[in-house]
């Protein structure tokens, strides 16, 4: 909220018109609740990020390292040389505007600098001014400008107002991946020690402890034991999963958010119940205990380092393949980057479902299968006993996560699973789902709490579509396959569409799953009464 400082006689002179200056002449104004805190130097130092220092984006002086301009320009030169895509994306945009109104942040905020084309132009203008002949000679006429502190602040503000969701790329006739431009922009700020606390902390924790929160092995184990107690009281079945077990057939890796934050915890209970029922020969790892990869939001090198930990653990344990939980960006990393960084993972076997015999050829190089594919295959082969009536109190819609839909084409499997375990399923409108899905508004490390206003702006287009099915069909549950979605859509629903809950798909599976030897269930995984069982406890 802007600070209120008008004097009484000024109140009558409110000017509603926005500034008429051109974008280059409109300096960025930092608004409370729109940006995240800075990373702690110790977190950056832990992973050897350069130029770690104490600073705050609220201060005038960001205590930038000496010759920071040269660092950025040299960094830009290196990135242009390293990634052909970056060079292309800097050169080929004709500013047709097809992407302009496709960004959830632009749609929700109305801030023109959230138009993907203009956000990219923030970087492109500096590229032109320093790396193109036309830009060096014609300067502003060619859309070029100098790199100044003011420009840097603009980068900081807007490259951390992009969730790299790639919806704009779907509409670009040239196929420019604007997310990669944001990634370059973020990599550049990282070179001079500017990083978000909400990203820097999880990266350091993941590097040192294996997961974003820094949960140590005994904490992970006891978190899961906590779920087991709940599962036992719901089903009467005692489950005994294994940890760090060498020789298991499958290593299971899920976002650590599923282990500690509601409603993700209910999804984790669903996984445990499903694997127990199948008698799956699998193990959890307390070291590769994070499916997410916040390194992906800092630099290519850091993402690669964190990704390699999963594979190092798979090798150490000697598993045949890796099964991955419900996560978003984890799957973009696996599907689009892992193989270049750390693949092929030839020390493992091509994943094959021990229950159905299905071979997952799509994962033959990465050896990692998404649990929605795995479960859809089980249901297709009639391997699960399900009672969808247990979810009859829920009217469900499905939010496609940006990364699983646009980053790996996982569109049908989650829907197939949901329709098999729920009786009431309603799609949101066509231009808001599948490859055109709207982002939750809080991905790429923007799921901090201090930037809540930004998140609500970015979350509005998605919430607007949920509101439509809520009002039209009475939808009261927003299912998804992403830990960040589970954490952040809860807040978004609370603000925009009260009355709609958020659940992982495997929570719904866990509810419907009829397990051998289970007692008559009266509660769902949230320990709330099942439909028709109210008052029976």
């Amino acid at each position: 909220m802007a600070k209120f400082s008008a004097k009484p006689d000024e109140l009558a002179k409110i000017r509603y018109a926005p500034p008429e200056t051109e974008w280059m002449e409109t300096p960025v104004e930092f608004r409370e609740h729109m940006f995240c805190h800075a990373a702690k130097p110790k977190d950056l130092e832990t992973v050897e990020f350069p130029n770690a220092h104490e600073w705050s984006s609220k201060d005038e002086d960001w205590k930038l390292p000496a010759n920071w301009e040269q660092t950025i320009l040299q960094g830009m030169k290196d990135l242009l040389g390293k990634y052909r895509s970056f060079q292309l994306f800097m050169d080929i945009c004709v500013r047709c505007g097809a992407c302009a109104d496709k960004c959830h942040f632009f749609i929700g905020s109305g801030d023109p600098k959230n138009m993907p084309v203009l956000r990219a132009e923030l970087l492109r203008s500096v590229y032109r001014g320093n790396f193109t002949l036309a830009g060096k000679i014609l300067r502003k006429l060619a859309g070029a400008r100098e790199l100044t502190v003011s420009v840097l602040k603009e980068w900081w503000y807007y490259f951390y107002q992009c969730t790299e969701c790639r919806r704009c790329s779907v509409f670009c006739p040239y196929g420019i991946d604007t997310a990669e431009i944001t990634m370059m922009g973020r990599e550049l700020t990282n070179m001079i020690g500017l990083q978000l606390g909400w990203i820097g902390g999880p990266v350091a924790n993941c590097y040192m402890k294996g997961n974003h929160l820094g949960l140590e092995p005994h904490t992970i184990k006891s978190s899961i034991e906590f779920f087991l107690d709940d599962i036992e009281s719901i089903t009467g079945i005692k489950i005994e999963p294994t940890f760090n077990r060498k020789g298991a057939e499958i290593l299971f890796v899920t976002p650590s958010g599923d282990l500690f934050a509601n409603p993700g915890t209910y999804t984790a209970m669903g996984y445990l119940m499903l694997f127990h029922e199948l008698g799956l020969d699998y193990t959890w790892s307390t070291y590769a205990s994070e499916g997410g990869n916040f390194g992906f939001f800092t630099s290519n090198e850091m993402a690669k380092r964190l990704n390699s930990k999963i594979y190092a653990e798979a090798k150490r344990l000697g598993v045949k393949w890796v099964l991955g939980g419900e996560c978003g960006h984890m799957w973009r990393v696996i599907n689009q980057y892992m193989d270049t960084w750390n693949g092929p993972a030839d020390f493992m076997e091509v994943p094959k479902s021990p229950i159905t015999g299905t071979v997952f050829d799509n994962a033959k190089s990465t050896k990692m299968v998404h649990i929605a594919e795995f479960t859809a295959d089980l249901i297709k082969h009639n391997k699960l006993k399900l009672d969808p009536r247990r979810n009859d109190h829920l009217k469900v819609t499905f939010h496609d996560s940006c990364n699983t839909s646009r980053g790996m084409g996982l569109l049908e499997e989650p829907r197939y699973v949901i329709k098999s375990v729920c009786s009431h399923f309603y799609e949101m409108p066509e231009n808001t789902i599948r490859e055109k899905t709207f982002c939750c508004g809080s991905g790429t490390g923007l799921n901090a709490s201090e930037n809540m206003e930004l998140r609500m702006r970015g979350g509005f287009p998605r919430a607007n579509a949920v509101k439509y099915v809520h009002e039209r069909h009475g939808v009261n549950m927003l299912a998804n396959v992403c830990a960040i979605d589970r954490a952040t859509l809860s807040a978004s629903m609370d603000y925009w569409v009260p009355g709609v809950g958020v659940a992982g798909v495997h929570e719904l599976v866990g509810n419907a799953l009829i397990m051998k030897g289970e007692k008559e269930r009266t509660q769902d995984l949230r320990l709330e009464p099942l439909p028709g069982k109210e008052g029976s406890e």
């Binding site: 929700g108 109305g110 006891s222 500690f260 809540m452 509005f460 809860s490």
Partner: protein
């Protein structure tokens, strides 16, 4: 002409001017998009504002109970409460309606004032402005509440697990 009929007749013109006045509070590129894109999912802000204003204006002119206007007002202000607007800008659009109505009535303004219809309408607009203020504050308070709730959601399980908090068993 019956004053009420005249206002009804002018309603589309008033709505159009009012809508444009609000959208002109956004930067030019944004304003053009908000006005042009008609799909309610591609342009939820423009659509929600237009639909809300249409409902508010209709209800105002028909003398509907103000409480029934609240949901439409809420839909608009909920959006503007999280945009780059000052509090006065976020809710001020309601008051701009008075000026637009007077301008649209033109030479008939005096007649409408004398009949008591215009002062009555303007009083109702003032009341809506006060309601807008309440809604705006609720939205802003919600933002803080969300921040607090999220922290609780993130840490509650861990606190439970560490035996730092416990719940009394059901009686």
């Amino acid at each position: 002409m019956d004053p009420r009929n005249l206002l009804s007749e002018k309603r589309p013109a008033i709505l159009n001017r009012w809508f444009n006045a609000v959208l002109d509070t956004y930067p030019a590129d944004t304003s053009a998009f908000l006005k042009k894109q008609k799909n309610q999912f591609a342009n939820p802000v423009g659509h929600t504002i237009h639909q809300g204003m249409e409902h508010i204006l209709e209800a105002l002119l028909q003398g509907t109970d103000l409480d029934r206007i609240a949901p439409s007002l809420d839909n608009i202000i909920r959006i503007r409460a999280v945009q780059d607007l000052t509090p006065s800008q976020a809710v001020g659009f309601i008051l701009s309606l008075k000026k637009i109505i007077r301008e649209e009535l033109g030479s008939n303004t005096r007649e409408h004032s004398a009949s008591g219809e215009l002062p009555g309408l303007e009083e109702r607009i003032d009341a809506l402005a006060l309601m807008s203020f309440d809604i705006y504050i609720q939205c802003r308070e919600k933002i803080y509440e969300l921040r607090a709730n999220e922290t609780k959601r993130l840490t509650y399980r861990l606190l439970q697990r560490a035996n730092l908090v416990c719940e009394l068993p059901d009686q």
